[in-house]
């Protein structure tokens, strides 16, 4: 068999191109031929403790150097405690994993933000916050929610550990070409409806596999009106539709967010960067392989009822009846989901009582998310017996929230105010649901056992999380107004 390795690398740049295609072409080291993948240069590699140890080991075994430690940065987030962070980690295997990251970063000279460091936090909160995530760059991390960084107009891909090792050794990845999908969100969101509701509605519409093979570009008036935080929430969950990545073209909102951040370009570099960033938007008339349109004005607060993120409905709706689902696979998945979730078809979503509210995760743990929830609960009383856990996305988010007095609002309400990390989003550390416990969660996955074995998850926005914590049943701020409670 002949070796089908690539031989030439000249991107065509005359045709009308989408944002994703422009960023891809800009990073083409070699163009694949005869079915071989393109070789793509990686501008920023983010590491954390869970998916990197085996990659460092591979590098060590093959006696390969880390090619670009100056494009690599690590933080501790998945497995770290959110209480007593000044004490040694109790679980010995968790402690070993953290220690392994520290040894590896020291050995290879990688910048690491450890627990207790002011820049520590969830890797997808830290990158943007430092200004490292920039428009038009390529970002990878051994975590599927790397899609978050696409909010800046970056091509951001979640990768596995073998690919982590590949990037460490070569600063490139062999990647197959992708298809493009435009997700246009027209109109204006109503008050009480957020970026989270948009993305949950998108996933319910196209399904958990609907984005497979595609890079999604979120466009339209409602996307333009979102803050960077909102755009990150949307891009974050692109993976839940099975997409390779999600992107938003950069604009003034992006530039304003970046300017002045530690690693944002300065002076003449800033001007040069802006000049490049302004070329990134999809060309007028460029063709997408698929298009989906959503009317923001019709959206309501959205929640999931099942065990994958595509199983969602408007909060005002009821638990669907599997018998009404035509596709046999989806029907049996729905039956299984209702059994696991202990829900009966036809139950109004608003009648569902929860035990725990989790406000956090790389989807919704930025200061804007905390502010929005705090505004709802301020001066209110938490539902009896309900547990609410608030986990800021980074140490800086926590500090910023405390400077605004948000911590006190949460504490007065009866919520727990924790240190930064992934926490109950994936329940790898001690922050887990008990079997049978039901949670309204601002995170991204309602998979069986995701938040703890036997735990039941409803994905919600920070506003729905806050209203639910007050009423004890799945609720939105609209319900608080109807309660006669401005």
């Amino acid at each position: 068999m002949t070796n089908p390795l690539p031989t030439s690398a000249v991107p065509s740049s005359t045709a009308l191109r989408t944002l994703a295609e422009k960023v891809w072409d800009k990073h083409l080291v070699t163009k694949g031929e005869n079915g071989t993948p393109d070789l793509i240069y990686i501008d920023l590699h983010l590491l954390h403790e869970v998916t990197s140890p085996q990659a460092f080991d591979g590098l060590r075994l093959a006696k390969r150097p880390l090619r670009r430690r100056d494009l690599t940065i690590a933080t501790e987030d998945h497995n770290t405690p959110t209480l007593a962070i000044d004490k040694p980690i109790v679980d010995p295997t968790s402690r070993t994993q953290i220690d392994t990251l520290r040894h590896n970063c020291a050995e290879y000279g990688v910048r690491l933000h450890s627990l207790g460091d002011i820049e520590q936090g969830i890797v997808h909160v830290v990158g943007p916050q430092l200004g490292l995530t920039q428009p038009g760059i390529t970002v990878v991390c051994g975590d599927s929610h790397t899609s978050t960084h696409g909010a800046f107009g970056a091509m951001a891909l979640g990768i596995g550990t073998s690919e982590v090792e590949h990037v460490m050794a070569t600063q490139t990845l062999p990647l197959n070409p992708f298809k493009t999908m435009a997700i246009t969100v027209n109109g204006t969101l109503r008050s009480g409806v957020t970026a989270k509701d948009i993305i949950l509605a998108v996933i319910a519409k196209i399904g958990t596999g609907g984005g497979a093979g595609y890079v999604l570009e979120y466009r339209g008036e409602a996307i333009r009106a979102l803050s960077m935080e909102g755009r990150m929430t949307i891009c974050n969950m692109s993976i839940e539709a099975g997409a390779r990545a999600g992107m938003v073209a950069p604009d003034q909102v992006t530039y304003d967010y970046l300017q002045g951040r530690a690693h944002a370009p300065r002076g003449a570099d800033w001007d040069a960067a802006i000049e490049y960033w302004q070329t990134l938007a999809t060309d007028e008339g460029a063709i997408f392989d698929a298009e989906v349109t959503i009317d923001a004005g019709e959206l309501e607060p959205f929640v999931t009822w099942g065990t994958n993120p595509g199983q969602g409905v408007s909060l005002s709706a009821s638990v669907p009846n599997p018998a009404d689902i035509l596709d046999a696979n989806e029907r049996s998945a729905a039956e299984r989901a209702l059994e696991y979730m202990d829900l009966a078809a036809g139950t109004p979503m608003k009648d569902i009582r929860v035990d725990t509210v989790f406000l956090g995760s790389c989807t919704n743990s930025r200061v804007e998310d905390l502010r929005a929830a705090a505004e709802i609960i301020k001066g209110k009383t938490k539902a009896e017996g309900l547990r609410m856990m608030v986990v800021p996305g980074s140490a800086r988010v926590r500090i910023e929230a405390e400077a605004e007095g948000l911590d006190q609002i949460f504490l007065d309400f009866g919520a727990e105010w924790r240190f930064a990390g992934c926490s109950m989003c994936l329940g790898m550390n001690p922050d887990q649901l008990e079997p049978g416990e039901r949670c309204a969660s601002t995170s991204n996955r309602n998979f069986e056992g995701r938040q703890g074995k036997g735990g039941r998850t409803h994905l919600v926005s920070p506003l729905v999380a806050a209203a639910t914590a007050i009423r004890g049943t799945l609720s939105s701020p609209w319900d608080l107004i109807q309660d006669g409670d401005q």
Binding site: P4, L39, H166, G242, M428
Partner: protein, 206 residues
């Protein structure tokens, strides 16, 4: 990586769609720092049910997993591939895979072959009627064979070639190192560097 040619082994029917990587290996089992030792973590929650398919004695030693659509969606954890491989699976067949899972599988010598929904149903029915039935998966011809039946599966040509040749991806890329060097020389000077750590321009931006 070992060369992959054909596998003949017991097929295990997993009649479920949307099997996410949290089900393949729950997060609490991701704390090991090695690439092996994950066999007991495979489907850890589901395996507590004695009726779960891989607990049945006729499917012991299974090497070919036949799953429903959207297998391996969700988290990028390569531990899902390691757990399947450590347990003894060499092949997973499904009508559709999560992209990252499929990529991870190809790097680790686990064959992820895409079959049609109809062929999945045919194979499920066949295996369930005769538990312990062995299938032959032939990568060169991209077919699954049992008795007189032969169904095709899809896999991208590059991954197939690498699996057949047992080639290490990093080694292949490093053959192009001169190209990487050339590319690096053209990168703009203002692109972000992680080192050294810098302070923001103002004490707290925004």
């Amino acid at each position: 990586m070992q060369k992959f040619t054909t596998v003949t082994g017991i097929a295990v029917p997993l009649r479920r769609s949307n099997v996410d990587t949290d089900q393949i290996i729950p997060a609490v089992h991701l704390k090991r720092v090695t690439r092996t030792g994950f066999e007991d973590a495979l489907f850890a929650a589901w395996r507590q049910d004695p009726d779960f398919v891989i607990n049945k004695k006729e499917y012991q030693g299974g090497r070919v997993l036949i799953a429903g659509a959207d297998f391996g969606i969700g988290s990028s954890r390569e531990h899902a591939v390691w757990a399947l491989r450590d347990y003894g699976f060499d092949v997973v067949l499904s009508p559709r895979f999560g992209d990252i899972f499929r990529g991870n599988a190809g790097k680790q010598g686990l064959l992820a072959g895409q079959i049609s929904e109809a062929d999945a149903e045919t194979l499920w029915n066949l295996v369930e009627a005769d538990p312990g039935l062995e299938l032959t998966v032939d990568l060169a011809s991209k077919t699954v064979r049992v008795g007189d039946l032969s169904v095709n599966f899809q896999i991208d040509d590059y991954t197939r070639w690498r699996l057949l040749e047992g080639l290490d991806d990093i080694g292949l890329t490093l053959r192009d190192e001169a190209r990487i060097n050339e590319f690096e020389a053209t990168r703009e000077s203002w692109l972000p560097l992680t080192l050294p750590a810098l302070a923001p321009e103002s004490p707290s931006p925004h």
